[in-house]
Amino acid sequence: MFALPEKESRAPSTCPGPASTQDLDSNCGDGLERECSRKPDQKLPELYGVGDPTAGFSSNSSHLSSRGGIIKWFWDSAEAGYRTYHMDEYDEDKNPSGIINLGTSENKLCFDLLSKRLSQSDMLRVEPALLQYPDWRGHLFLREEVARFLSFYCKSPVPLQAENVVVLNGCASVFSALATVLCEVGEAFLIPAPYYGAITQHVCLYGNVRLVSVYLDSEVTGPDTRPFQLTVEKLEMALQGANSQGIKVKGLILINPQNPLGDIYSPAELQNFLEFAKRHELHVMVDEVYMLSVFEESVGYRSVLSLERLPDPQRTHVMWATSKDFGMSGLRFGTLYTENRDVATAVASLCRYHGLSGLVQHQMAQLLRDRDWINQVYLPENHARLKAAHTYVAGELRALGIPFLSRGAGFFIWADLRKYLPEGSFEEERRLWRRFLDHKVLVSFGKAFECKEPGWFRLVFSDKAHRLCLAISADWP
């Protein structure tokens, strides 16, 4: 699994150097968005980078296989900061001086609404069929509900089909399964960076698939109209670069709304990216896990499923989950929508590893079915709370004179703390992150998102007001 040809993956100008051993105790800053980090190599302008999470690692375990050693290393490297947090978690009564987590992207604003809804009697049904082996793709009643739900909220021009839906235990699993059935060992997906770093691990653990970062720039240059803008040109360059290194790229991952930028792709942009993929026969995986968390009404979000005509429907795979939009990351419910029956069948074959309880499947179907509650209670309230929390944190950052990006979607603000790094290095970035942790605030640093510029941090604002106040009022550098 990890027998990657190392020569290829360490092309001098493009690839970050190998992880050094001192990185072993490092942390990405987001306990759950686990990603190993590497020493920076900033000498040449980088347009793309080939990820090789395993570079420079050698296992010395007598009990684990060589890939097992690397898998454990993933665990260890992520654990450190997360463990610190867990050992000293903030609790308003029991541990008011504990660490506040602005690192993990979770929506903690609507538990009251959810808890009430999930406790209603329709949720509590137990019947024998739910206790036995299901159809591996997910119970039909749930797949039908997902198809109806996505048809409605993604504004699909035609009703979506339950046959195209596969239900898994979270989007991480969808990434893992897709990587495995679409790529051979060592092949790659393109992904615009900065990106949600945990995907590196999702596609690597079982699938041993790599990510080629399409580096985006904070500076607005050329035809760009906004910082970190993705263009077809950048995609083309990265693809060419990867190809020239002998890396076979099989697909493109798009996160829309984007994490950590909060960017939303316009229908025209989406169309262009999809056309690019079609030209090169690339699969496109569109992660729309934040699609209902667009809290700014002026932002016109469009799901890929809303497009009149997909350039390459057989190679377009959409994923969504309740983790973010319904603030239930612990529920482990994710879904794949693809018109490609081969892909759906292959992913379904792996569902024996990624199944979720029949009782939870029932609950999810009930939840998604309750359009009244979603439209009249949950979404308006959730958006209002997200907006309020965002306004608060954004205001505080402005007061501190910290530049940031935020586009009215998602749970996070992408903050520019470069002015606090005199040398502008990733070491400094890490030290600053550590300093936050020492001051009892857990945030995520840009390196964890494969951002090529040191100094960017992601702050999650979807938390209760008192925790936010405490976190923000903690000493700033």
């Binding site: 375990s61 009990h63 296989s65 890939r67 509590l124 590893y353």
Partner: protein, 588 residues
Amino acid sequence: MDETRDGEGSSQPVEAKTKAQGMSHQSDVLPCDQLRDQVIGNQSSHTQLMETLLHLRQTVDDCITQLTTRPPQLDLPLEEQRHNQATGEQEAFLRRVVNLLQSGAMWGLGLQAPRPTLGPRDDAGGGQQAQLSRQLDQLVHQLSHLEVAFVSHDLSNRGIDISAFERSKFQDFKTYQGDKYHEDKNTMGFINLGVSENKLCTDLMTERLSRSDMNHLEDALLQYSDQRGQPFLREEVARFLTYYCKSPARLDPENVVVLSGCCSVFSALATVLCDPGEALLTPTPFFGGLVMGSYLYSKVELMPVHLDSEITDGSARPFQLTVDKLEQALLEATLKGKKVRGLLLINPQNPLGDVYSRDSLEEYLEFAKRYNLHVIIDELYMLSVFDDSVTFHSVLSMESLPDPNRTHMIWGTSKDFGISGFRFGALYTHNKEVASAVSSFGFLNGISGITQYKLCRLLQDREWIDKVYLPTNHSRLKAAHRYITNKLKALKIPFLNRGSGLYVWMNLKEYLQPCTFEEELLLHHRFLGNKLILSPGKTYMCKEPGWFRLIFSDKPLPLKLAMHRFYEVLAEQKRDLRVKQLEDPQKE
């Protein structure tokens, strides 16, 4: 463990003793029309086609094994790399062809094939004809599916493997799902005694899970948790196992990792213990779902330790596992150049129902220690030992483990609590490295917080488990087992009588003539034709044809009907054999 859906034998590595003819390796182009003609027009070529395909598959498998076991390509000069790539592509194509043929065509053919040999049936009539035409439709449908898949370039080679493997069973399962037996609504539907599920206590379980204590909700349950599983659940699992496995010392929650089902636990374990192409030894016959389980994601192979139904020197019972056999299998694997990393044991065994004595267990563990092998021990049926005279010894009950750092135990609630739909499996290991590495999969194979809470409540309720659930479950299992074994005795069918598990391992050799795996498969399809699903021994990598596993943990009504259908098929088979016997001497 998750069951293979139907017990179809197509998943098994095939020992190809076939003479390949007709299709050479160069025949890249297999016109679909030609294939269709062959399939529909010429039933008698069925076996031949199948054999050819199996042979081709075997050849390709060998090539690919060779390819994958080669050292990493980075040392090779570029040209050679290119050559390899080209060969790889060719082979991939071939493999694609073969997989698709095998998966799609065999299933359709398999159902079709026995029909022409049928004698006049008692219940034959319009129904049968309708059935035949339905099957024909199905076949045509599958062929059209085949053609579509044929031109699909969207999947990776491993994706194609994964898909092809599942497709055959998928189709089978779909047919079953669409025509399931139901007490009132569909008494003519398929009765599934192939999938190992305990349906005897759904009343108790439904009642327990409906109590209000199950419905607690707190924010932590809806948020990301410790990847190893919620601490409250790991603590409860440790307490539960300490008690029910009779562990001499209290088990440590830090050694527990919970994932979405035992398949996930096994897959994660296999991945972190073995590199691709490395192998685990396992006594066969054994539950076959893991074979694919280990191969699909982790590319770990299983090396069978073939056990014998005959009692020979050194063994006291049929299919007995001995250290000699383990030694021999290990030696053979090593000679074949296979790197064996561990030993996989199932206790109570599936499908034999064997329960290992403390001494045997100790011997196996000592054997593993001698060769630095990991031992993965699956105790999924540990609370389903319903015969009071049988004593189960969990590996966790041992005073001292020979090699604690290489001993890993798997348990789940699927079988013992009859809730396979819960998707819960637990690993217990003293090895912190292994526990950490497996925990990395917590994201990909995690369990819903709500489910974790319910499981915790369930495992906590010792009073209910000990006084209500287990006694009732055991007495119902016992009754169902008695019912089935009495029927088998009346039919003079030999079987292993073991008092554990949900299944009976029986010998239907009498009904095969000649006694081959082809005949076994035909008999299997004959059962299917009569709406009864059993699992043929080939699914369990049994080396002797004629064995079947029958699940008895179903309600009395379907069980009774199933045995009626079982009897019908065997009577019919017997008649056909007699006719065949009478005809044969005339031919000579």
